[in-house]
């Protein structure tokens, strides 16, 4: 009774201590003072979650029952760790460069970011891990009972203890496992806490071992002597089980979600692997060193029928070593809790990322992605998933009643999660592996495992009837779950491992051979398999002759005109360029590709851009190059390359600016010449005809006609001077606006009439409904702009059937009025200068204007608070007048 109280107090104090450790580790990590947290030692210790309560208590029981066979569980992982240079190093590098969050994420990402694969892996992981969590809960409950005898049962029973334990673990995991949504999914506090627990369980087991050998056994020699006289004195392990279990535990260390979490996801530095490669096998060796002595002495000293699973605890107790027993209890407690916490984090990440979030997002429609912050939803979904996982574990324990069936569940779990091994290894070593293959392999393997091992493990009459087990389904003998094809191996576990793994591998292989991977799969495959080649030299879109205008035309088709235009415009603005055509930098191309991928998929988007870039075909290398860059791995040399690219770009921009300046200076020079021409031409007519009139001798009609010409030319002169003055006033900002209320449609009507559309061939297409807007602005000035733009189409549109479309669009902040004709448009080279004074496109001077129209338009719209610009990629010449939405006083229809 007294010892139970002490036990509870010590346990609570221990839990409190762990909370404190996790809290301070998290805090110092957040402050960036966590260098010591990221030591290889902590990493190695965190791997010890491999040793759960099942191994802490169960190994001794296992040894007492089956001798040395238990060692396979430690030897398998040791081989994997010793072979780190092959597999683990690659996994860790891939995990880093692909920002992998779980084993499901890794497999899904490798096979073309397929969520269905992720779901399969998640299901396998949950099914495989839930009984294991139940096992941990049970072991702590059993240990408590061993201490307390029947007391625990009277105070609520073991079930209540289990429930409290599950709830406490859920709380801890939620608190420290989902504190923040780190992009790298690291949990410094949790890792620190499990490292502490790793030390506690090692110390506890070693202490019990030392006590048993020297305290009871009388030293090493006598203990070996006792072993030779015990029930397990002879090597009695079947070769099949020895090999099968070693294989199983080796694959478990790679595929168990919790091991993947600490090995790959929480890894800080690849070099830590170098330390863990020998230190973790050493840890495992120390953990198993004393198992046989404890088992042998336990069998000797404990009464007949005592549970050998609890020898670690009951042996010191029976010898009156209460403190040692307490330590041993804490060791088992540590083993159980650390496993449950990490497993819950790993599973909840998978469940949340691959099941809950996709469902939530599709339920929200596209608005959720637009709305932006889904982080709180992710956190909530993680937390709920953690509670769900622990609830499942508790329910499993509660339903199965925690009987003997649980003891064997450890290996059954291993065999279940090992079904992801072919896809995992195939994915990182074989470029030919495909999504279909992975899917086939895992499903076939999982089904085979469930049929031959998992369901029969519950014993007859739970899932499968006794009849079914003995004679096969419907009496078909060769389908007997534990003797497929009539091959009864004798050991159901080995039988299941052989069948499930080989069918799995076969399906994976054949599926991969006959299916054809998508481009994304091939890209990811190449990146995974050749991770060491690619992660150090990310390539990029080489900026070829990508024409921004062509890209815009394409983007408009895919994203819709306004989306595409605003994307191009904002990119141009961020590059310091006005207008719609930004520099086609690699960054921009990637941004564009990402945007387009949202509509047509990444591969298509890439291929389309590739076509415009002028590449005959898009190779996997191209795709790789892009993805590499998004992996954001920038080595020093690449930064240099980027810098030099930056310099080239700057130089190019400077050259362009210089060209434009030169061009403008030439235009300034031409200004006087132009003024001269524009003034002299009407002057010529005036002078000639006034001399003719002066000479006399004309009839009335001629007199009137020539006087009329003089008059017209005088007016033309005046208009020119007016334009010049107008422009000068506008440019100097001395203009006063005459703002009033009016309908946009009316202004356009007025402009159309003034431009003389009625007597021309030009057909104007308008949408009256969209024009039904009430504006408050200088309507006369606005009409002047419209007249100019319509006149332009009238003069320059060279189509057989000239057509001008005037479209009004609501762009949110701005009102756009587009004037698009179906003529030849304006060459890209001229688009920059058309708004300059006296610039007329090409050498064509036919239109007779002075080239001031667009310059005036630009100034006016600028005064009205908007912009006018040339809109490339619309087929013909296209001008867009953008007015701020603030000028709109009343929306259509209201």
């Amino acid at each position: 009774m007294g010892i139970l109280n002490v036990l509870v107090t010590v346990s609570l104090a221990y839990v409190l201590f762990l909370f404190t450790v996790a809290f301070f580790a998290d805090r110092s990590a957040a402050r960036g003072r966590a260098k010591w947290l990221q030591s290889p030692l902590i990493y190695t210790l965190s791997l010890s979650i491999y040793c759960t309560a099942w191994t802490f208590y169960g190994a001794v029981g296992y040894a007492a029952r089956s001798g040395v066979e238990f060692l396979t569980i430690y030897l398998g992982p040791s081989i994997v760790m010793i072979g780190w240079w092959w597999t683990l190093r690659k996994l860790v590098r891939i995990g880093r460069s692909q920002r992998v969050t779980s084993i499901a994420d890794l497999i899904s990402s490798r096979f073309g970011k397929s969520n269905s694969l992720a779901v399969v892996v998640t299901v396998i992981a949950v099914v495989g891990t839930t009984p294991y969590i139940a096992l941990q809960l049970q072991s702590v409950t059993l240990a408590l009972e061993a201490f307390a005898g029947d007391v625990a049962k009277t105070s609520g029973g073991p079930s209540a203890t289990t429930l409290w334990l599950a709830a406490g673990l859920a709380l801890f995991t939620v608190l420290f496992g989902t504190r923040n949504l780190d992009a790298n999914e690291r949990h410094d506090g949790v890792v620190m806490a499990i490292a502490v627990e790793a030390v506690v369980k090692l110390v506890a087991l070693v202490a019990v071992g030392l006590f048993v050998i020297w305290g009871i056994g009388g030293g090493v020699g006598p203990t070996l002597e006792r072993i030779s006289q015990s029930d397990i004195a002879r090597w009695d392990v079947s070769g099949g089980r020895w090999m099968g279990l070693m294989f199983l535990s080796a694959s478990a260390v790679l595929t168990l979600p919790r091991m993947f979490q600490v090995l790959v996801v929480e890894n800080e530095d690849e070099r830590h692997l170098a330390t863990a490669s020998w230190a973790f096998p050493a840890y495992l060796m120390l953990m198993s060193l004393f198992v046989v002595p404890i088992a042998v002495i336990g069998l000797e000293h404990m009464p007949e029928g005592a549970n050998p699973d609890l020898f670690v605890l009951t042996l010191p107790l029976s010898e009156g070593q209460n403190t040692l027993a307490m330590l041993s209890f804490l060791g088992g407690f540590s083993s159980a809790t650390s496993m449950v916490i990490v497993a819950a984090i790993a599973l909840s990440t998978m469940v949340s990322n691959h099941i809950v979030m996709p469902i939530w997002l599709s339920a929200q429609g596209s608005t959720a992605i637009v709305a932006g912050d889904v982080r709180h939803v992710v956190l909530l979904s993680r937390r709920l998933s953690i509670m769900g996982v622990l609830t499942l574990g508790y329910l499993y324990h509660h339903t199965t009643g925690g009987g003997e069936a649980l003891a064997s569940i450890g290996l059954i779990s291993f065999a279940g999660v090992a079904q992801t091994l072919p896809a995992l290894l195939g994915g990182i070593f074989w470029r030919g592996a495909t999504r279909i293959g992975a899917l086939c392999g895992m499903v076939v393997g999982f089904v085979a495992w469930a049929y031959t091992l998992f369901m029969p493990s519950f014993g007859p009459e739970v899932f499968l009837s006794d009849e079914f087990l003995r004679n096969g389904p419907m009496g078909i003998g060769w389908l007997r779950p534990q003797a497929l094809f009539g091959i009864s191996q004798g050991d159901p576990l080995v039988h299941s491992i052989i069948w499930s793994m080989s069918l799995n591998a076969l399906a994976f292989f054949v599926g991969s051979l006959v299916s054809f991977p998508t481009p994304l799969e091939r890209l990811q495959g190449a990146q995974f398999v050749n991770v060491f080649d690619h992660s150090t030299r990310p390539g990029s879109w080489s900026r070829g002759m990508a024409e921004a205008e062509d890209l815009l035309v394409m983007a408009q088709r895919i994203l819709g005109p306004s989306e595409a235009q605003s994307l191009f415009r904002s990119e141009a603005a961020s590059q310091g360029i006005t207008g719609y055509l930004p520099e086609t930098t690699p960054e921009f191309l990637q941004r564009l590709e990402r945007e387009m991928a949202g509509s047509v998929g990444a591969a298509t988007a890439h291929a389309m851009i590739g076509q415009i870039l002028g590449r005959a075909s898009v190779t996997v290398e191209d795709l790789m190059a892009v993805a590499d860059e998004t992996a954001q791995i920038m080595e020093y040399s690449n930064q240099l390359e980027a810098k030099s690219a930056e310099l080239t770009r700057t130089a190019r921009q400077l050259r362009a600016a210089n060209e434009k300046l030169t061009q403008m200076s030439v235009q300034k020079d031409a200004f006087l010449s132009q003024i001269s021409h524009e003034l002299r031409t009407p002057m010529t007519s005036i002078r000639a005809f006034s001399e003719i009139l002066r000479d006399g001798g004309l009839d009335e009609a001629a007199l009137a006609k020539y006087a009329g010409i003089i008059h017209d030319e005088a007016i033309r002169l005046t208009r020119l001077l007016d334009d010049l003055l107008d422009l000068s006033v506008l440019e100097n900002g001395q203009v006063s606006l005459n703002e009033r209320i009016g309908r946009l449609g009316d202004v356009l009507d007025q402009a159309e009439a003034a431009a003389g559309i009625e007597n021309s061939r030009l057909r104007v297409v308008r949408s009256r409904v969209r024009e039904d807007l009430v504006l408050y602005t200088d309507l006369d000035r606005l009409a002047q702009v419209f007249i100019n733009l319509i006149s332009n189409a009238l003069k320059y549109c060279d189509a057989k059937r000239p057509r001008l479309e005037i479209a009004v669009r609501d762009l949110g902040d701005n009102l756009a009025i587009d004037f698009v004709d179906n003529g030849g448009g304006i060459p890209t080279a001229s688009q920059d200068v058309i708004f300059e004074k006296f610039s007329r496109v090409g050498s064509d001077q036919a239109a007779g204007g002075a080239g001031l129209g667009l310059a005036i338009c630009r100034e006016i719209v600028h005064r009205l608070g908007g912009t006018v610009s040339y809109l490339p990629g619309q087929g013909g010449a296209a001008f867009r007048v953008l007015l701020p939405m603030t000028v709109v006083r009343q929306n259509r229809g209201s």
Partner: protein, 127 residues
């Protein structure tokens, strides 16, 4: 005299003015308003004299002059260049290309008449 003049100019009012002045003086005036096919027109009409504006739609007057001078039949044809830009650069270009005379707009009617007569006479003197 019945001499034929081809006036290549795009401003309708200036065409009108020059036609009037020259017809009154007894010239037969032909007009053409763009640069693109001006050379064809010259070849077809075979005028005694061409009055050529520099700024024409389609093709500049300088280009036309260059082609006229390059072709044997029109190499010696008197050409009076008109320009509204009045820069010395234009005058130099015109001379280099072989313009017979060069006049800046606006001009006096007497000046035009005098130039046309002198050019026609020069040709006669040569021929």
């Amino acid at each position: 005299m019945g001499k034929r003049v081809l006036l290549i100019e795009d401003e309708p009012n200036i065409i009108e003015a020059i036609s009037f002045i020259l017809s009154r003086d007894g010239w037969e005036v032909d007009t053409h308003a763009n640069g693109t096919d001006a050379v064809d027109k010259v070849n077809r009409r075979q005028p005694d004299l061409v009055i050529l504006d520099v700024m024409l739609p389609g093709r500049s007057g300088f280009d036309i002059l260059k082609e006229l001078r390059a072709n044997a039949p029109t190499a010696g044809l008197p050409v009076l260049m008109l320009t509204a830009r009045g820069q010395t650069k234009d005058r130099e270009t015109a001379q280099a290309l072989g313009a017979s005379r060069f006049m800046t707009k606006p001009f006096s009617n007497a000046e035009v008449l005098e130039s046309v007569r002198a050019l026609a006479a020069g040709v006669q003197a040569q021929g």
